[in-house]
């Protein structure tokens, strides 16, 4: 049930955990959350460059990974409270790693219009994530400028999806 849910929301390109069979391939979960705490866009990437070396050994079977995928949503949304706490203490847009869950970090980027970009990832360099967030913010603004796009509604454009994934491949 959660497999169908996540494929319908991430534009159906279904990258998730690739069929590489080489152990714990690290996935990143990216979500854009609107002003009413509603997810506007979600995507999962398999990251190619990670800061830590791949842990040889424990191979998590595919079926179990599917179960973990819906956890990503929960983890990301529970981090929203932390974002709101930090919101007024700084006027930076890029809030670095704000929360940690079981070896995974959650980084956040808060836009001027109070849209939150959250990334659930393993240990990665701040700069890479900052660049990725800047790219995604730019794409979001371009989508927002479309007069037919209702702010706070779901972004279903496949072009947007392609660009986000390309940016993720470049930076993450």
């Amino acid at each position: 049930m959660n497999a169908t849910h996540s494929s319908s929301s991430s534009g159906g390109s279904g990258i998730g955990s690739g069929p590489l069979g080489q152990g714990n391939s690290p996935t990143c979960y990216f979500v854009i959350i609107g002003t009413k705490d509603n997810p506007i866009y979600e995507a999962e990437f398999v990251s190619v460059n990670t800061a830590r070396s791949s842990s040889g050994g424990a191979t998590i079977p595919e079926a179990k990974k599917e179960e973990f995928r819906h956890l990503n949503q929960f983890i990301a949304h529970s981090a929203l409270d932390m974002v709101e706490d930090l919101q007024w203490s700084t006027n930076q847009m890029y809030l670095k790693a704000i929360d940690k869950f079981n070896e995974r970090f959650i980084s956040a980027y808060l836009t001027a219009g109070n849209i939150k970009l959250l990334l659930l990832h393993d240990a990665k360099s701040d700069d890479a994530i900052r660049n990725f967030f800047n790219d995604c913010y730019e794409l979001y603004i371009k989508t927002l400028l479309n007069p037919f796009y209702e702010p706070n509604s779901i972004i279903s454009s496949s072009a947007f999806d392609t660009k986000v994934r390309a940016s993720a491949k470049r930076y993450l």
């Binding site: 700084t90 006027n91 603004i141 371009k142 927002l144």
Partner: protein
């Protein structure tokens, strides 16, 4: 309102569009071969491309007058009309906020009221109307009221208001823009536009921003 020329002006625009040579090969409706147009995906246009460009006042005045006529047909009452203008301005404001903050590469999010108002007073006005707003004042009577004034608002300049709708203030459009920006930055407030004519500037409009209670409480905490 200029209602006489509305129908004819609309027709003339449409006929002009039909007679313009079409771009890139759509010669007739019957042509079924789609010559590839120079269409750029909106996601590929650079955001700074239109940064310094200006739109002519004529084009804006025309567009605004058409917007007014369009809304006038669909409302009953002046309050409703002002509310509709406010909504139109709101849509502009949401987009303007993110775009302007992004373009000003070194700017951060605004967390304080004064910073926010200053941003509206300078950057937003400069981008929209080519000049800064004329004054930014804090009301002495109420803690939560601020006023931004414009001596010669572009929206009202070309609109002639007949006597029976003399209550109408086209500044409601500007008020909508400001309200969207305040809302977007999490400073919910009620924004209204009032005309306060003085001798040299008969069209002087003041935008009154009344902040909600929670904004003031938060300001107190942040001090």
């Amino acid at each position: 309102m200029s209602s006489s020329a509305s129908a004819t002006s609309r027709l003339s625009v449409m006929s002009m569009a039909a007679s313009l040579p079409s771009v890139g090969g759509y010669s007739s409706a019957a042509s079924s071969i789609y010559a590839k147009r120079n269409t750029t995906n909106i996601l590929e246009r650079h955001l700074n491309k239109t940064r310094g460009t200006e739109v002519s006042v004529n084009a804006f005045a025309f567009l605004f007058s058409e917007m007014l006529q369009y809304t006038q047909k669909r409302v009953n009452g002046i309050q409703d009309l002002e509310r509709k203008l406010n909504e139109l301005g709101y849509r502009v404001g949401i987009r303007a906020l993110d775009l302007l903050v992004w373009r000003d590469k070194n700017s951060k999010r605004e967390t304080r009221v004064l910073g926010m108002l200053y941003f509206i007073h300078t950057t937003v006005w400069k981008t929209m109307f080519g000049k800064q707003a004329d004054s930014l004042e804090k009301s002495t009577e109420n803690e939560d009221e601020y006023m931004i004034s414009d001596n010669d608002p572009m929206v009202s300049k070309f609109i002639s208001i007949p006597k029976d709708v003399s209550q109408l203030n086209c500044g409601a459009f500007m008020a909508g823009i400001v309200e969207a920006i305040m809302d977007g930055c999490q400073f919910p407030s009620r924004v209204t536009a009032h005309t306060v004519p003085i001798d040299s500037f008969p069209l002087r409009t003041t935008i009154l921003i009344k902040l909600d209670r929670e904004v003031l409480d938060r300001e107190e905490q942040l001090k």
